[in-house]
Amino acid sequence: MSSTEPLYLVFLVTGFTVGFGHCVGMCGPIVVSLSLNLKGKSVLIPHLLYNAGRVITYAILGGLAGILGSFTILTSSIVSLQKGVLVFAGVLVLLMGLAMAGWIPFGRIFEDGGAGSSVLSKWFRRLSAAKSSIVYLPLGLLLGLLPCGPVYTALIASARAGMGSKSVLEGFFSGMGLMIAFGVGTVPALLLVGKLAGLRWMKSREVIYRISSFLMILIGIYFIILGIRY
């Protein structure tokens, strides 16, 4: 039995508990925005793909931390990328909010068969079309890079697991395993939030869309500010 095996369980449970606290607060706005973007269509597959992408990114980061055996070397080399992803997430939520409110010039892209023809409107339509749920996977891969305290903590453990490994390969798999355990633990909370925000159960969606669009615009601006200041 490997000495990291109990740690896998610890980080699976940590992911689960942190998911319902920290992740709902920090990643919740993005997940809610994605669900609202689906306009009452089934949210399960897109959210599973989004979460799968996120966990794959965590796994890669964990593997790298395990190889390097250093948390600070890894994070100092990706800090600019993370800053960019935070700004991107803000822009994404902001645009979704503006589009939902019908305040962007190329029309209400969230309406069925919206008339917008720009790259952005096409991309949003693809994002909201059920048949192209696969776009949620690269989105999850990218947003898995969002700076996050508990993810950093799990990466510290991955780096330590790598330091105690006998080979580079063992370090890679130890670090990767820890981050997969952590990432999988966070999935139930974000799936639940995504499902609740799917609005299939809600009759007066139009009112909710209006309120949500306003909140999304505020949250998008907040994320952009965080990204610039990060």
Binding site: V10, G21, M26, P147, G149, Y152, A197, M202
Partner: protein, 153 residues
């Protein structure tokens, strides 16, 4: 009809709870709550100025973090000095944020000389902008001493 109303109300209240959780977890509001004079300042250690000492079971426990200024996302050396007694086993430090679960981040300490223990660790950065961290020093079978301080991002 009553059942449908009940289910819809229940779902709506869950969504409202989730939204509230999202709002309350956002940095500025939490900062405002933390800064509320009525809630009292949590910080009990000016770690940027120098080591901090607390009493624990008749012993004086001193925490120092180097190098200064103490910054997040940097490799840090944690030094604990115990005077007036000797821990039964090696001490350790749990790092966390007051009121926010950041996951388990433990610094194992090793004795470097009589009553002095050291270990390496990292204080991570919270994107919300919160800078207040808590180091809980545990001396096995003696108890815990909590040091709350601000770090630099």
């Amino acid at each position: 009809m009553l059942k449908r109303f009940w289910i819809t109300s229940q779902n709506f209240s869950i969504l409202v709870s989730v939204c509230l959780s999202i709002v309350v977890n956002q940095g500025p509001l939490r900062e405002a709550i933390a800064a509320d004079p009525a809630s009292g300042s949590l910080v009990n250690c000016e770690i940027q100025r120098g080591p901090c000492t607390q009493e624990l079971a008749g012993m004086a426990v001193t925490l120092d973090i180097l190098p200064r200024p103490v910054k997040a996302m940097k490799d840090l050396k944690f030094r604990v000095t115990v005077s007036g007694g000797k821990p039964v086993r090696a001490a350790y430090i749990d790092l966390g944020m007051p009121g926010m679960d950041m996951g388990p981040n433990r610094v194992e300490l090793r004795p470097v000389k009589d009553n002095v223990y050291e270990g390496q660790g990292v204080i991570v950065r919270c994107p919300s902008g919160r800078r207040t961290w808590k180091a809980t020093v545990t001396l096995p079978e003696s108890g815990k001493a909590e040091f709350v301080f601000d770090v630099i991002y």
